[in-house]
Amino acid sequence: MSDAVKYVLRFAAFVIVQGLVLSFMPPLHRFITPYVYLLFLLWMPFVTGRVAMLVWGFLLGLSLDFFTKTPGLHASACLWVAWLRGGMINLLVPRETKELASGTPGARTMGLAGYLLFLFVLTLIHHIWVTAIEWLSFGSIGYFLGKVLLTTVASMILYLVTEMLFRPRANRRRKFD
């Protein structure tokens, strides 16, 4: 399967799971809405151009927005993630790994701690932005912090589950290195 087809299918899968299932589940708690679609952006290869990242980010956010009836909200947050991802990778990944054509962010290429930090920081930024805009005109600081933190933690758990389900190869290889 060519890379382009793979990304389009993955894009559709993430948007549909997020837009039809996760965003419309009865809330687990008033603070927690699980987000998993962000993994599409986070899993893009290191060599993806910054312009391409921005365009993917905008399209991903906008597609989800059509399901949640909030045009621009997630698109705007995804743009931040797409924009800041490059800087995070520069900080966390050695140059030689980064230039591998097949390199994608993962525990194998970044180290477990680095990878978790990468996921956590970018997800936190996404949730801060979404929650800030949503609560701009109403709500208190306690709600804001609670919702940002707990939603981030819930997303992290979902990421790990998705990781174990769909990317077992990366983990296995690390064990035998």
């Binding site: 419309f24 008033r30 059509f66 009836k69 743009l79």
Partner: protein, 284 residues
């Protein structure tokens, strides 16, 4: 000039980021300003179709509960049938030939149309319900929507085959309601905190009111027929620094498993609005 181009070239990615960010934010602001942003319409049709497929899958989960609710709803509606009509009092009208006028004539005031829910949300700040019924099927903005068990919201936007309903779980909705049997009117709103609880505002502390009272739509509501069940009082707080009671209401409709609703058209609404607008004009 060359330097300007160099500058733009150097920061091209940043400019793209800024431009896209501005596009996204302005879309959001424009959409939030008017509840009826026209340019979203094509997306209702597109996501509506996908949602319909997904809905077909999930609808079996709630089948049992919905059947029970629909049966109850049917019974309630049969009892209410006569209240859908208003008697026109023609006794005070001077007529040259009374044979021409049937003085016992009734006219239909409320028209109920069945609609199927294809999408709904409960965990956002502004929640909407999408119905598969649009202008081609007679829906217009401002019509009321009732779910089995209680009212659900108001139609705010329509496309040819879909319509968008502002759910009771919406920060900007406010509904005129009254407490059944007590003749107390209040405003039902939502503070965006828990989708299980709505807030009834505007009732002073001096009024007698009890937990468990039924909240119904009031007779001065433009969109809702009077007497429809809205919900039940769950908790009453009497804060020292407030004039009004803070009342938590459990909604009668189950917003988590909403599938079948009735879109209610007030056929006399236009007439009422025109009359009231005329009064406004003449007093100003």
């Amino acid at each position: 000039m060359r330097n300007v181009f160099l500058f733009i070239r150097r920061y091209a990615v940043f400019f793209l980021f800024l431009i896209l960010q501005v596009v996204a934010i302005s879309m959001l602001v424009r959409y939030n300003k008017s509840q009826q942003a026209r340019y979203m319409q094509w997306s209702y049709e597109a996501t509506g179709r996908i949602n319909k497929q997904a809905d077909n899958l999930t609808r079996y989960i709630f089948l049992n509960d919905n059947n029970r609710r629909l049966a109850q709803e049917n019974a309630a509606l049969r009892n209410q049938l006569s209240s859908n009509f208003v008697q026109v009092d023609s006794s005070a009208v001077l007529m040259a030939d009374t044979m021409m006028v049937d003085s016992s004539r009734v006219i239909r005031k409320y028209l109920y149309r069945y609609a199927r829910v294809v999408n709904s949300s409960t965990n956002l700040q502004n929640n909407y319900i999408t119905l598969e019924r649009g202008t081609r099927q007679g829906v217009a903005p401002g019509m009321a929507v009732a779910a089995p068990g209680g009212i659900a919201g108001l139609v705010v936007d329509v496309s040819p085959n879909m319509c968008l309903v502002m759910s009771l779980l919406h920060r900007k909705q406010s509904t005129s309601v009254s407490v059944k049997g007590r003749q107390i009117n209040g405003i039902l709103e939502w503070d965006g905190k828990s989708p299980l609880r709505l807030q009834l505002n505007g009732i002073p502390k001096t009024r007698e009111i009890a937990v468990g009272d039924t909240i119904i739509t009031s007779n001065i509501s433009m969109n809702y027929p009077p007497g429809l069940i809205v919900g039940f009082i769950e908790r009453i707080d009497k804060p020292d620094d407030e004039v009004n009671l803070i009342i938590q209401v459990k909604s009668g409709a189950n917003f988590f498993g909403i599938e079948h609703v009735q879109v209610i058209e007030n056929t006399l609404l236009k007439e009422q609005k025109a009359l009231e607008a005329r009064a406004d004009r003449s007093t100003n």
